[in-house]
């Protein structure tokens, strides 16, 4: 039992409270100080998370069986249906359900909450500068922004800490809602509205699959909701494969994997800190977290794992190819995020044998890359946000350039982030990317289909090369060459305020160091730490795969050099300004492989036809019948309405007529 369990519930609840406070009193009382509740709550949660992490670390190091490293506590009963006598372990029918607000602290969740609260707080600080204009005036939706960010933090922490699938699903939907709110933050812009809707609807598709997967798990595990019950393979007799596939579809929606990837690039319409926090570091990694959490189940169904790794590799390659020709800085980073998430799925898909150490290896690699990627991609997005802020919201690479001198601190931040993303030693991405490629290489030796995993591995190496190339293409085009400013700046450029640059520098330190610090070679190794997560096979010492390291590093440097050769001088870009040279491949890449268009033609157009037919049916047939029925009383009334002619004498006459008829009837009966 951890000491932290006493206050663990506060970690998600405090940001929620801060969010509601900001919603209620933010616009009226706090105004330009509306960021305070969010930052304070983030800090408190961060400190509590560190303390919780410390407890877990102690427990892991003590290696004491009486002090397990994974503990879950139920704080209160959330809801219950069905027979009240059939609760808890006794539930054996689908009619009875008992859900509790129970949180779980183990190495995986503790690492995640530290990352989420740290990045959340840092990005909130960055936002205090970003959400103001150059004269220090706050954005009209300032308090709304921080309220949404607080709610997002709370939902994300619920998602990570949840100990049953229902609570996890609640957090999952909560972050989806906050993502919708924040993408559409500038709702006056039609593009932002459309992007928000698109993101919400596309992820919703995945969420449906996810819920079905959870339901299937619940049924086939003998009506268990808690992770301890769900992750015990002996509970199941069948249905694991389908449930895992459905959960993977849900993860695809949230983590922007093919075929549900189309929302992420559009989501860049939101403010840059949101892109950094939600669409790079935390929410989009929820899918990775989900698969890591259910790793024991996934590892038992190698067919699904092949789908996972295949989709991951395909998305990774696709996104990298699209990123090659994009000219919007944030979009390049968005495709890069998709690509890196694909990497993580590749890692997760490599864990195929329950009995072997492979699932553990795969999980460590994925989570390791998740953490390093969170830091350096947040750094890149914040740097891009800083550029955007200085350039008056212009981040078209064709219109800016040579900013190295005018934005020195931003330049440093972006450079370190790019180096980390490109996977060059000794920066963060190098360590985690090598881990992933090594795991895939290792898996190919154990699998029944070695050629498949070799192919995946080669794809990974190639994507590493592409990653280095497009990252440094963006870097060189932005910061090198002749100074080129958009006309919106009116020739004046200032470095961003300190509230923005200090987080950049702090994150730069992490981007440089976190990979090495968490790698195998140090006492803080994330591998050893995560290895204590229950349900996984403990791993013996694992050597570096020098072949992989060599290939990956070489491809990274090759990409860097190639980018330097093409774009080192900055300025005019190869394809964009020379339409004559464009060929089919470039067009394909520039237009994102026409996925939006294909979806429009294949899915939306037939649906529109169905809608049109339904509308015709509703409007002319259903409504027609209803109107017809409604017309009958009206027509009858039309016969009698002239009686109401307003002439009192006429009314008197009608009365007399009635009396006469009555009298005649009376006379006849006598």
């Amino acid at each position: 039992m951890y000491d932290a369990m006493a206050y663990l519930w506060m970690i998600p609840v405090i940001p929620f409270i801060a969010g509601f406070i900001t919603f209620i009193i933010g616009p009226s009382l706090l105004r330009s100080q509306a960021h305070l509740p969010c930052i304070i709550a983030g800090l408190i949660s961060f400190v509590l998370s560190i303390s919780a992490l410390n407890d877990v670390v102690k427990a892991v190091e003590s290696n004491d069986l009486s002090n397990p490293s994974s503990v879950s506590v139920s704080y209160f009963e959330w809801f219950r249906t069905g027979d009240p006598n059939l609760v808890g372990e006794n539930i054996k029918t689908a009619g009875s359900l008992k859900a509790e607000f129970s949180l779980r602290l183990d190495p995986l969740s503790s690492a995640m909450i530290v990352m989420v609260t740290f990045l959340g707080t840092l990005i909130a600080v960055f936002s205090t500068g970003y959400m103001r204009d150059h004269h220090g005036h706050i954005d009209p939706g300032y308090s709304r922004f921080f309220a949404s960010v607080s709610l997002f933090l709370g939902s994300m922490l619920i998602l990570v800490l949840a100990d049953n699938v229902l609570l996890l699903y609640a957090g999952w939907e909560g972050v989806g809602l906050c993502s919708y709110l924040l993408i559409g933050f500038w709702f006056e812009k039609p593009a932002a509205c459309n992007a928000a809707r698109k993101a919400f609807l596309v992820t919703r598709l995945g969420d449906v699959a996810l819920f079905l997967g959870f339901a299937l798990l619940w049924v086939s595990s003998g009506y268990r909701l808690d992770f301890d019950g769900l992750l015990t393979l002996s509970n199941y007799d069948s249905g694991v494969g389908l449930a895992c596939f459905l959960m993977f579809l849900g993860a695809c929606g949230k983590s922007a994997q093919f075929p549900l990837h189309v929302w992420l690039p559009d989501a860049m319409e939101g403010p840059s800190p949101v892109s950094a926090l939600i669409h790079a570091a935390t929410m989009v990694t929820a899918g990775v977290y989900l698969l890591a959490r259910f790793m024991p189940l996934f590892a038992s169904v190698p067919e699904v794992q092949m789908v996972v790794i295949g989709i991951g590799a395909f998305t990774s390659l696709l996104a990298a190819l699209i990123a090659l020709t994009q000219t919007d800085l944030k979009r390049i980073l968005a495709y890069s995020t998709m690509s890196q998430l694909g990497y993580m799925f590749m890692a997760l898909g490599a864990g195929i044998d329950v009995k072997s150490a492979l699932p553990m290896l795969a999980l460590r690699a994925a989570i390791f890359h998740l953490l390093t990627h969170a830091f350096f991609k947040a750094l890149l997005f914040l740097s891009a946000g800083s550029v955007m802020h200085s350039m008056h919201d212009v981040i078209d690479l064709r219109r800016i350039g040579g900013l190295r001198k005018v934005l020195p601190l931003t330049h440093i931040g972006f450079l370190f982030g790019a180096l980390a993303l490109a996977g060059l030693p000794p920066f963060a991405g190098f360590w985690s990317k090598d881990e992933i490629l090594s795991v895939i290489h290792e898996t190919s030796k154990h699998s029944n289909y070695p050629w498949f995993y070799i192919l995946m591995w080669a794809t990974g190496i190639f994507v590493a090369f592409l990653t280095a190339f497009y990252t440094f293409r963006a870097y060189f085009l932005t910061f090198w060459g002749v100074l080129k400013l958009p006309e919106e700046c009116h020739g004046e450029v200032h470095e961003s305020p300190k509230s923005m640059t200090y987080p950049l520098l702090l994150l730069s330190v992490f981007a440089i160091g976190i990979g090495f610090v968490l790698s195998n070679s140090t006492p803080l190794s994330i591998e050893k730490f995560l290895g204590k997560t229950p349900g996984y096979v403990l791993l013996e010492h694992h050597d570096h795969d020098w072949l992989t390291v060599g290939f990956a590093t070489a491809s990274g440097f090759a990409g860097l050099l190639l980018a330097f050769v093409f774009y080192g001088k900055g300025g005019v870009t190869l394809s964009e300004h020379s339409p004559g040279k464009s060929n089919f491949a470039v067009e394909l890449s520039k237009n994102k492989f026409f996925f939006d268009e294909i979806y429009n033609k294949l899915l939306i157009a037939p649906l529109n036809l169905v809608f049109y037919c339904s509308r015709i049916f509703d409007q002319y047939i259903l409504d027609g019948v209803v109107d017809l029925i409604a017309h009958i009383p009206r027509m009858i009334a039309q016969l009698f309405r002239p009686i109401q002619n307003g002439l009192v004498q006429f009314y008197a006459l009608a009365m007399i007529l009635a009396v006469t008829v009555f009298l005649i009837a009376l006379a006849r009966s006598m």
């Binding site: 006459l653 007399i656 009298l663 006598m670």
Partner: protein, 351 residues
């Protein structure tokens, strides 16, 4: 004159009366049609006079009644067909005066006086209004046109016809109301007969030649109407069950029981229509008395109190004092109300 020919003549008279009113009612195309109306009215009056003089024996009351009712009816008809409302008001005065004569015939001198005083005042006020309001240079179109003259006159005369036919039927000798005492007697007898267990004895009791109990009750109930219909349905089962031919004592007893029920219901509901004893006071004959037991005058009609007006005053200021006070209050309220309604602020007048 029997009822049949009476109703025929009445219908004829009503037809001509309707023609008279319809043709005389102001229409845009009056012209000679008024003459037709006058002729029809004349015929109708002649027919009515024939009816009256053949029905009732000649005496002074009849002559007076004919004179007064002639002026009343003619005056009222002229009033409703008058194109000039001032003429209408004069005709109304004629009608009021004639009904005053009728009131006198009905032994109500005080009411006659009050009526003439009140309506004379009313008519003078009406005249004032006419002088004040009626367009004095051009006749108003409203006076020379009627609203739905055909429908209105037809409806009115059908109503009149149905009223007269109901009255005729009510006072005809063929339809008499049930004799309470006899019905009571028959019900008691039947109730006693129900306790008899011997079939022949029971039959002898209820069927005794003319003394057949069902026929007796039917006669006592007046020979027709819904009570007799109920007997035919409930007791005789539409004629299929005849007690004197049945040998089933249970069936006979069931029929007799429903006969008793019907008789008792009749007594119960008829008693509801009797005036309350509490009403008896200074008003004259006791309303609860049977008609035959009322004190009669020489002509055979019920005698009114000798000093009519004195008794009316006693009645009003003793038995009906609260009603009189309330009527006075109503008059006061109406006076105030009329003033309040007519009073207008100067600004409103200008607008």
């Amino acid at each position: 004159m029997n009822d049949q020919s009476w109703m025929t003549l009445t219908n004829l008279s009503l037809l001509f009366g309707w023609l008279a009113v319809y043709f005389c009612l102001p229409k845009r195309i009056s012209g000679s049609s008024r003459l037709i109306g006058y002729g029809a009215g004349f015929i109708a009056l002649i027919i009515s006079a024939v009816q009256i003089f053949t029905t009732y024996s000649f005496n002074p009351e009849l002559v007076l009644f004919c004179i007064f009712s002639f002026f009343a009816v003619v005056g009222s008809c002229l009033m409703i067909v008058a194109q000039n409302p001032a003429h209408g008001a004069i005709c109304f005065a004629l009608t009021i005066t004639s009904t005053g004569g009728i009131f006198l015939l009905l032994a109500a001198p005080f009411v006659m006086a009050a009526n003439i005083i009140v309506y004379a005042g009313a008519i003078i006020v009406t005249f004032l209004f006419l002088l004040m309001l009626v367009n004095q240079h051009n006749a108003d179109l409203a006076d020379s046109e009627s609203r739905e003259p055909f429908l209105a006159s037809v409806t009115g005369f059908i109503l009149m016809g149905s009223m007269i036919s109901i009255l005729t039927a009510s006072f005809s000798s063929q339809l008499s109301y049930g004799n309470r005492n006899e019905i009571e007697l028959i019900v008691n007898e039947t109730q006693q007969a129900l306790s008899i267990t011997n079939l022949s004895e029971l039959k002898a009791k209820v069927i005794n030649g003319d003394n057949y109990v069902v026929t007796k009750l039917k006669n006592a109930l007046g020979g027709s109407g819904i009570w007799v219909e109920r007997i035919e349905v409930d007791v005789q089962k539409n004629g299929t069950l005849v007690i004197n031919k049945s040998d089933d004592i249970v069936e006979i007893k069931a029929a007799l029981t429903s006969l008793v029920i019907i008789g008792n219901e009749y007594l119960k509901y008829r008693s509801l229509l009797r005036p309350s004893i509490a009403m008896v006071g200074n008003s004259g004959a006791d309303p609860s008395l049977p008609l035959g037991k009322i004190r009669k005058d020489q002509s055979g009609r019920p005698a009114m109190p000798a000093d009519n007006t004195t008794f009316l005053g006693k009645l009003l200021f003793s038995d009906q004092l609260i009603a009189v006070e309330l009527a006075g209050l109503l008059l006061l309220v109406a006076t105030i109300g009329a003033i309040v309604i007519v009073r207008q602020l100067p600004t409103k007048v200008s607008s």
